[in-house]
């Protein structure tokens, strides 16, 4: 088997994850996790820069043996899930698993020969997969790094009642990241399904990590809903093989493009796959599992919400976009996304718990991406991919910040975060960056929302009404939250040691990533997204005109003036006269020459000097 960067990216985290089970020492784990995260991050960047950097062949491993290993693992997972279903008396879980296993077993051994897939993995020239891998490598890696410090505090300070199972926790994190790499690079649908199931199982185990009654219940709900998607996925595979259709992504899209009867034939499996995607990305009516997942420690929420799991769902829907575009299926998928966006945004207003607000906002934004997939035109898919990128970084940043705040102020209620800009300035500023990235013009999400709106107005103007109402609702809760952060009542005390090194590194890198993604988005678009979309649709159509991008950049530059205001945070009541007046008043003795007031004066001069520059 040819080993290139891609199989390595999949295998290394999977193997490392299993090894994590054995590491009991906190220091050893710290070192190994850091090295692994750096390696994964570097490898995913290398994938963009030089995809053929590593290449060697292992003759001992054949495709056949890989398939066998996959089948065995799948069987083991099926037995485990069946056990969970029986043990926790959830017949639905057991039944769904049995149906799914039955379908797959029939596909593998009962239905005779099925079409062979020549290329199991997508090449590194597939830009969409590379984008997803990059997000997974950097964001997912960052989360693992953050988890080191977070889980230590979680078990030793915040939640001493929860059994410390950190080896399992880190093992699951890495397996999750590895499976996600596998998912985005699989061309063979059975491989894709294999990784799909691993993420389902990992999320079940991670949500139930604390082993409380609530977490157990929520984990089971997540498992059940995702199994529903899994059944649809398995049905799609069986249907394709029974009708001698290609069993790979590329083939599926090609036969849809060729039109005629082959397009009609792949429409049903595409719809099933979209259904699987919709369950995985927590669209209505399956959104409850993602909200329930909030019981897990923060790194898990961040992982589920930003780089893995839910992104796998929208990834699949966007992949199916060229197949379902301009069909009833596409319209239905778009409608599901649109309704989810509106309902999710409105629900976010009603929530006071920060993590819940974030969760609803994730559901809403995923709705927007699903909407793009359902519409499936050039502009829509372009906007969808852009949304995935911006949402992943900004949302992850916000989750991690909320986690830090929760540990320090012992509440994740938004009202309790009042005055955070004084209490935890660094974290508050990073949260503001994340929020700006989520909804403010001219930052990331807004650029994409703008593109979505344009795409939708062209394709299905009626759906645009969901977007306009939904986006004004998002505006409301984000600004309110921002307002809470900057308001200062009384003289709150400053929290010491806002974060540990690993945590600081993770949130710092993500803030930079949010910022850079906004700044460099024209380049990301022209180098990564446009090639992919053009490759799929075979034409080039400008989504945003050059002039508009320039206007956005001007706005960006203007917003950059904003941080100047932070220089004066929390300095208390102060009248601001002109400098000469103040000098005069000082001479008269109404302002002391030295001490606090005097320093303030210097700050002011400094600021003027900076503005003048």
């Amino acid at each position: 088997m040819m080993m290139t960067l891609i199989p390595l990216l999949i295998l290394v985290p999977l193997v490392a994850g299993l090894a994590m089970l054995l590491i009991r020492n906190d220091h050893v784990r710290r070192v190994i996790v850091t090295i692994l995260v750096l390696a994964i991050g570097a490898a995913s960047v290398l994938l963009v820069v030089a995809p053929d950097a590593i290449s060697f062949t292992i003759t001992a491993v054949s495709d056949h043996s890989i398939n066998l290993a996959m089948n065995l693992t799948e069987a083991a997972m099926a037995i485990f899930v069946l056990y969970v279903g029986v043990h926790s008396r959830r017949p639905l879980i057991a039944v769904l698993m049995a149906v799914q296993a039955g379908l797959m077993a029939w596909f593998e051994y009962g239905s005779g020969s099925h079409p062979e897939v020549s290329q199991n993995l997508l090449p590194a020239t597939d830009h969409f997969s590379v984008i997803m891998a990059l997000i997974n490598g950097i964001v997912g890696g960052g989360i693992c790094l953050y988890a080191l410090g977070y889980m230590k505090e979680y078990h030793e300070v915040a939640h001493t009642d929860v059994t410390d199972r950190r080896p399992t926790f880190f093992a699951l994190l890495f397996v999750f990241v590895g499976a996600m790499f596998g998912l985005v690079f699989s061309n063979n649908l059975t491989w894709l399904f294999f990784f799909w199931e691993i993420t389902t199982l990992c999320s079940y185990l991670l949500i139930g990590y604390t082993r409380t009654e609530e977490s157990r219940r929520n984990a089971q709900r997540a498992l059940m809903m995702n199994l529903l998607g899994g059944v649809a996925f398995a049905a799609a595979i069986v249907y394709l093989s029974r009708n001698a259709c290609p069993l790979d992504l590329q083939g599926l899209i090609d036969s849809a493009k060729s039109g005629g009867s082959s397009k009609a034939l792949v429409l049903l499996p595409a719809a099933l796959l979209c259904f699987a995607g919709i369950t995985k990305s927590a669209q209505l009516p399956f959104s409850s599992w993602l909200l329930g997942a909030m019981v897990a420690p923060t790194p898990v929420s961040a992982l589920l919400h930003s780089s893995t799991m839910v992104k796998a769902g929208v990834y699949l829907v966007l992949r199916m976009a060229p197949v379902i575009t301009e069909t009833k299926v596409g319209m239905l998928v778009a409608l599901v996304g649109a309704v989810t966006f509106l309902v999710g945004s409105l629900a976010a207003i009603t929530a006071a718990d920060a993590k819940r607000v974030l969760a609803w906002s994730t559901v809403a934004n995923l709705g927007l991406i699903v909407l793009c997939g359902g519409i499936g035109t050039y502009a829509a898919v372009w906007a969808g991919v852009l949304l995935i990128i911006f949402h992943a970084v900004a949302k992850c940043l916000l989750f991690l910040c909320v986690g830090l705040v929760e540990h320090k102020i012992h509440s994740r209620n938004i009202d309790a975060m009042s005055g955070l800009i004084v209490r935890m300035p660094a974290v508050a500023v990073m949260m503001l960056i994340g929020m700006a990235g989520m909804f403010l013009a001219p930052f990331g999400m807004l650029i994409s929302k703008y593109a979505v709106l344009m795409a939708v107005v062209d394709a299905a103007p009626v759906l645009s009404v969901f977007i306009v109402f939904g986006s004004s609702a998002t505006l409301f809760f984000w600004v309110k939250w921002m307002g809470k952060l900057v308001e200062v009542v009384g003289t709150p005390e400053r929290v010491r040691n806002e974060f540990t090194l690993g945590e600081g590194l993770a949130v710092g890198v993500l803030s930079m990533a949010t910022f850079l993604a906004c700044l460099l988005f024209p380049m990301i678009s022209s180098h990564m997204i446009v090639p992919y979309v053009t490759g799929v649709f075979g034409e080039h159509a400008a989504s945003l005109t050059q002039g508009n991008i320039i206007i956005m950049m001007i706005m960006m530059a203007m917003v950059m003036l904003f941080p100047l205001s932070f220089i004066r945070y929390g300095r208390g009541p102060q009248s601001r006269g002109r400098l000469p007046e103040r000098r005069q008043r000082r001479r008269q003795g109404s302002i002391p020459r030295f001490g606090r007031q005097g320093r303030k004066h210097d700050d002011e001069q400094l600021l003027h000097a900076r503005v003048a520059q």
Binding site: V462, S464, L475, F476, V559
Partner: protein, 277 residues
């Protein structure tokens, strides 16, 4: 460029007329037409007393973005971008009020947010409606659209837009966040804690905003320029009239009615257009 210089003059004059007309409606003499300018000049001379100094930056950015919004609009740029810039400006004002940390400005800020949420859908739907008729989001193309004036194809959207104007100008019945009269439960709401030059900036920003929004009204009649200007002025008088006739609504009623108007008139209009297409 013309806009940047002329807008505050025109806006200030309009506000002067506003006060004069309002006074006449209330059987008063009213201030001179140039009173708003006198006010602003005087504000600039006053000492700037603030709770937190950083709040001035928010207001300064508010002004900058309002001017930018108008500039984009009159330069014939993308209508959606114009809306986003306007929203951004409004957000800075709200954050400034939050920053000011007084109970009155809090209430003002939260109500302003609710008002933003109330008018935003209709404003976006207006842009979408214009796009559906003219096939372009560029203000320049919409203004140069030859054919029947947009208002005949977008009557529902036009009415809905008028409704949002009432909110955007913070006139009764929607003067929830900041009233012109400082003797109510709000004190002056959003602007309670701003004074001196900062308050002058807010005032000037409103002049810019006024001209820009009336410019948008004109777009509905772009193919008949004289009628357009006349209607824009008429709309302004209408807004003043409504301001004097109605009492303030509660915020619940404000958002409900605004969303209902957007959903029925705005969306209805778009639905019909897309069916006709």
């Amino acid at each position: 460029m013309v806009y940047l210089l002329a807008a505050p003059l025109v806006g200030g004059l309009l506000v002067g007329w506003d006060r004069r007309i309002s006074a006449r409606m209330q059987s008063r003499q009213g201030p001179p037409i140039f009173q708003p300018f006198y006010d602003v000049f005087k504000l600039c001379k006053k000492e700037n007393i603030v709770v937190r100094r950083s709040q001035n930056y928010y207001v300064a950015l508010f002004l900058v973005f309002v001017i930018f919004t108008g500039g984009l609009f009159f330069a014939g740029s993308d209508l959606l971008l114009v809306i986003f810039a306007l929203t951004l400006a409004a957000i800075f004002l709200v954050l400034g009020a939050y920053k000011a940390s007084s109970p009155f400005s809090f209430i003002g800020a939260e109500r302003e947010l609710i008002q933003m949420m109330a008018y935003e859908p209709m404003v976006l739907l207006t842009a979408i409606g214009m796009y559906m008729v003219t096939k372009s989001f560029q203000v320049g193309d919409i203004a140069g659209y030859h054919g029947v004036p947009l208002v005949f194809l977008l009557p529902g959207i036009f009415l809905g837009f008028l409704y949002t104007l009432e909110i955007k100008f913070r006139k009764s019945p929607f003067d929830l966040s900041s009233s012109h009269h400082a003797h109510q439960e709000l004190v002056r709401g959003l602007t309670t804690e701003f004074s001196g030059r900062t308050l002058a900036m807010i005032e000037i920003a409103h002049w810019y905003e006024l001209v820009f929004l009336l410019g948008w009204v004109y777009l509905f009649f772009a193919s008949m320029p004289i009628l357009g200007v006349a209607v824009s002025l008429l709309v302004f008088v209408l807004v003043i009239f409504v301001d004097n006739v109605f009492a303030r609504l509660k915020w619940q009623a404000a958002i409900r009615s605004a969303w209902a108007v957007a959903a029925v008139l705005g969306f209805g209009n778009i639905l019909i257009l897309s069916l006709l297409r």
